[in-house]
C-alpha cells in the first residue's frame, strides 16, 4: 500500500472541497410568539456577527409575515376561512405556553416593553436593514390560501421552494429549525 500516494490524494480531495460559507439558514416553522422572538433575535444577532442570514418561513411560520393592513383578493371560501383563523401578522401571535386566554401573552408583551426588549416589528425593520433574506414557502402559502400581496413590506422577501432553502442550507455553516 502506497500511503504517501493515498495521503496526497486525500489532501487533494480536502483542498478541492469548498468549505461552508459564513452563513446561517433557519427554517421558521412554528407560529408562536416566543419562537418567533427567538428566530428574530438569532437572525439579527447573526447578521451583526457578519453572517449572511437566510430565513425560510414555512407552515405555521408564514402567517407571522401577514400584514394587518393588506388584503389579498380572489380567495375561495376555505382559503378565506383559513385567513380568518390564522394570525394576521406578528402582533397576533400567542405564546406556546402560558397564553392563559391572552393574559400570559399580554403580560409578556408588557414585560418586553418595560425591559426595552425589541418587538418583532422593530426586529423585522432591523433585519431588513441588515440584509437578512426572507423566503416564504410557496407551497405553505398555496395550501393555506395566503398570497405575497398580503405580506408585510420587507426589502428582501420573496416566495421560494424547498430547493432554494436546501441550496442555502448546504452552503451554510449554521442551520437552525424553529
Amino acid at each position: 500500500m502506497d500511503f504517501e500516494k493515498e495521503l496526497l490524494a486525500l489532501k487533494q480531495q480536502v483542498a478541492d472541497k469548498p468549505g461552508p460559507e459564513n452563513k446561517l439558514t433557519m427554517i421558521v416553522f412554528s407560529g408562536e410568539l416566543d419562537k418567533h422572538l427567538a428566530a428574530l433575535i438569532i437572525a439579527t444577532g447573526a447578521a451583526a456577527m457578519g453572517m449572511k442570514v437566510v430565513l425560510f418561513y414555512t407552515f405555521w411560520g408564514t402567517a407571522a409575515l401577514r400584514s394587518p393592513k393588506k388584503k389579498a383578493n380572489g380567495k375561495n371560501l376555505i382559503e378565506k376561512m383559513f385567513g380568518i383563523m390564522l394570525p394576521r401578522g406578528n402582533n397576533k401571535l400567542i405564546l406556546s405556553k402560558m397564553h392563559t386566554l391572552g393574559a400570559g401573552t399580554a403580560m409578556i408583551k408588557g414585560l418586553m416593553k418595560k425591559k426595552h426588549i425589541a418587538s418583532l416589528d422593530e426586529m423585522y425593520e432591523m433585519a431588513g436593514a441588515l440584509g437578512v433574506q426572507i423566503y416564504v414557502c410557496e407551497m405553505s402559502m398555496d395550501l393555506m390560501g395566503m398570497k405575497m400581496e398580503e405580506m408585510i413590506d420587507y426589502p428582501n422577501m420573496r416566495s421560494a421552494g424547498v430547493a432554494t432553502m436546501l441550496a442555502d442550507a448546504k452552503e451554510s455553516s449554521v442551520q437552525f429549525f424553529i
Partner: protein
C-alpha cells in the same frame, strides 16, 4: 489606564440583547479603521457578547469596564 483616544461614544443603555451588538455592527462602517469607540450598555449579556462578536467579526475589544449599573466597552475597528 488605557492609552487610546475615544473617537465616539455609542449609548445603548436600556437596550436588551441582541440590540447592543446589532446596533454596534451597523455603526462599524461609519468608523475609521484604527479608531476606538466606547459603547455604553446596561445589558449584562454584553460582557460576554462583545468579545464573542469581536472574535467572529475580526474587531478588537480593548477593555470591558463594569461600573454599578453600567458597562463600558471599548472597541477598536481593525478592518
Amino acid at each position: 489606564m488605557a492609552d487610546y483616544e475615544i473617537k465616539k461614544t455609542l449609548d445603548y443603555k436600556g437596550l436588551a440583547c441582541p440590540m447592543p451588538i446589532v446596533k454596534t455592527s451597523m455603526e462599524m462602517p461609519k468608523i475609521a479603521v484604527g479608531d476606538v469607540v466606547e459603547i455604553l450598555s446596561t445589558d449584562p449579556g454584553s460582557i460576554a457578547d462583545f468579545p464573542a462578536w469581536a472574535r467572529t467579526t475580526g474587531q478588537a475589544v480593548l477593555e470591558v469596564k463594569q461600573e454599578p449599573g453600567l458597562i463600558r466597552i471599548y472597541v477598536k475597528r481593525q478592518k
